[in-house]
Amino acid sequence: MRRVFALLISLGLILFFVNSLSILPEYGNVELSKVSNAYINKSVNGNNEKVKFGESKDLEDGAANVVTSIVVDYRSFDTLGEVTVLFTSALGVGLILHGFKRKTYGRLPNFILRVSVGILLPLILLFGVYVFVHGHLTPGGGFPGGTIIAAGILLLYLSNEEFDLSKTSKFVESYAGSLYIVVGLVGLAIGGVFLINFLPTGVVGDLFSAGIVPIVYILIGFKVGAELSGVIADLYREG
């Protein structure tokens, strides 16, 4: 009975959404909105020339990856909020699991895991760092990069019973997050607006371009990495 009822509710919901298809554009035939157009042509503050890879210089935003330029520059305030959500949940996992008695398994990690972690870990960390340093040029950025680093830390936890990083991760998390806001405040001091992009933006496509975008993405990478490893540590060990 309960299942039939639930089925009816979910079918009704699906019908509600299908009904909304009449107002949505057809799949694949979406028009670019005015906002996205401005983002792509980097013309929010009035720039009429088309952007060209490797040639356009000193645009209002220099990131070659348009998604990155939205996430870390045009809508950077959202990203600050997003980092705060992650921060809150990492803090919450710590507070909720505080004082929880861990069950011991008495099972040592096996040899293959321990040895292979030694080989793989530097590569994983390097890849994570690469992903967030090149966030403004290639797909990726602070969030996947941080997650990859956290995955490496998870391997360390699995392979070494004694390993503990929770103190360090707290400090990294705290200072990376604070520096993000400090970058915003420096913008407020220099340009009069919170989170303004106050560095020169360079040529589209260069590694050293896009002003504060790479800096912020590196900070986000460290913060996300530290937070997620903190979550993993809290879930793995006693609080």
């Binding site: 909304s20 009449s22 107002i23 949505l24 554009p25 909105s33 005015k34 906002v35 996205s36 401005a38 983002y39 929010v44 503050n45 520059d73 045009y74 809508r75 950077s76 305030f77 959202d78 600050l80 909020g81 997003e82 705060t84 959500v85 921060f87 809150t88 949940s89 803090l91 919450g92 507070l95 909720i96 505080h98 707290k170 400090f171 998390e173 705290s174 997050g177 604070s178 806001i181 400090v182 915003g184 405040l185 913008g187 407020l188 340009g191 607006v193 919170f194 989170l195 303004i196 992009n197």
Partner: protein, 450 residues
Amino acid sequence: MTALLIAIPLLTAFLFVPFKEKAKFILPIIVLINIVLLFNLSINSVEAMGGWKAPFGIVLVLDSASFYTLLVVNIIFLIISLIPQITENGFSILLLILLASTNGLILTGDIFNSFVFLEITAAAAYIIASLKKNYYGAYKYLIVGSIAGGFYLLGAIYSYVGTGSLNFADISLNLNSSFLPFVSLMLFIGLAVETKILPLAGWVPDVYASGSPLTPAILGTGVTFTMMYLLGRIFITIFNGYFLDVLYIFGLLTLILAEIAAFRQEKLLKALAFSSIAQAGLVLSTISLNTYDAIKAGYFHLLNDATAKIILFVIAATVVGNFMKNKTAGISFSIASFSLIGFPIFAGFRSKLLILQSSFEKGDYLLPTVLLFSTIIEAAYLLKWNVRLWHNENEETKQIPWNIVLITLILALLIIFIGIFPDLYLKVSENITDGLMNYKAYVTTVLGGM
């Protein structure tokens, strides 16, 4: 400069992670700095984050509505921070985050940004709800809250498809009318969980009645006020009154059902939690009448309700046993509950009178009938609880700390003061209403005279 209201608490929260225990002392200072800063800002200013102007970037809008809501919410945080006993170790950082996110929610002029702040508020609220080992209640809250968050996100996306922009003012100006029913329904589902409207308010009794005074004292007052403001901002300013008829029905149903449920409760905190749902329903249906007087009356009532609820929840969760041993706290409790019922000379009387007047002016007789009926139920159970708490044989009564007694007493005196001279609260609610109803001014302020 407006961004500092969000940046300062957030920066403090980030900096104090390694020293969680010290955050308790910094919280009142930060809230005070925020309030001082608030008075130095100029009203009707728009600040573009990162320097990207209105329809493209995220803007923070400070008009008279958001200014006074900020003032109210920050003062509530100040009151909570002056009772450090109810905040457990480490939770002060959460209060800082909650302060930053409610400020952001009030100020933001961007629908996706409001979703992000809604999620921060919700995440902090889930953790606060887990106080006193109330993990199951917090878990239920998390599931319901996340689904609602998903619907809010869908509403934001539909309005993006309908306008090509995420800016509130732009949506209000350009949203295609065929999108209106979908967007408003989804946003309403998204907000109904936090504003405690009935089909989605099932989590409230579990969370508020956990026995921790902090949970209901902050979630039921500051956060509820913020969410009610956001609801007003979306449905009154942006959709300009569309969809309010549906909200009216939901509000009335919530009011009547929750009062009946409150009457049947065996525990005081559960009864108060249901009463909190009922008041949210009353405020919702009052502002849904969508006249100047009605909206004013709605927010005026919300203010009175928040004042009374802080007293009721803090005392109900800290005092066990007899009020004869804690006479001052008992008197404050009784004053607050009389105000909730709406006896003359107390503040609640003024607001219920205003609600009745405004609905008669609109020619609406359903709301007054339901309101009078629910007031009778309310009077019945609140008086029952008052009698029970003043005359019971429970001997194990703890002495409660002096600052709780003092603060609740001051708030109780404030209730009587408002009951006789309501001008202070009336001015606040008038300003909020001005800001919410003046939709043309909002659009021109944000988009710059288009």
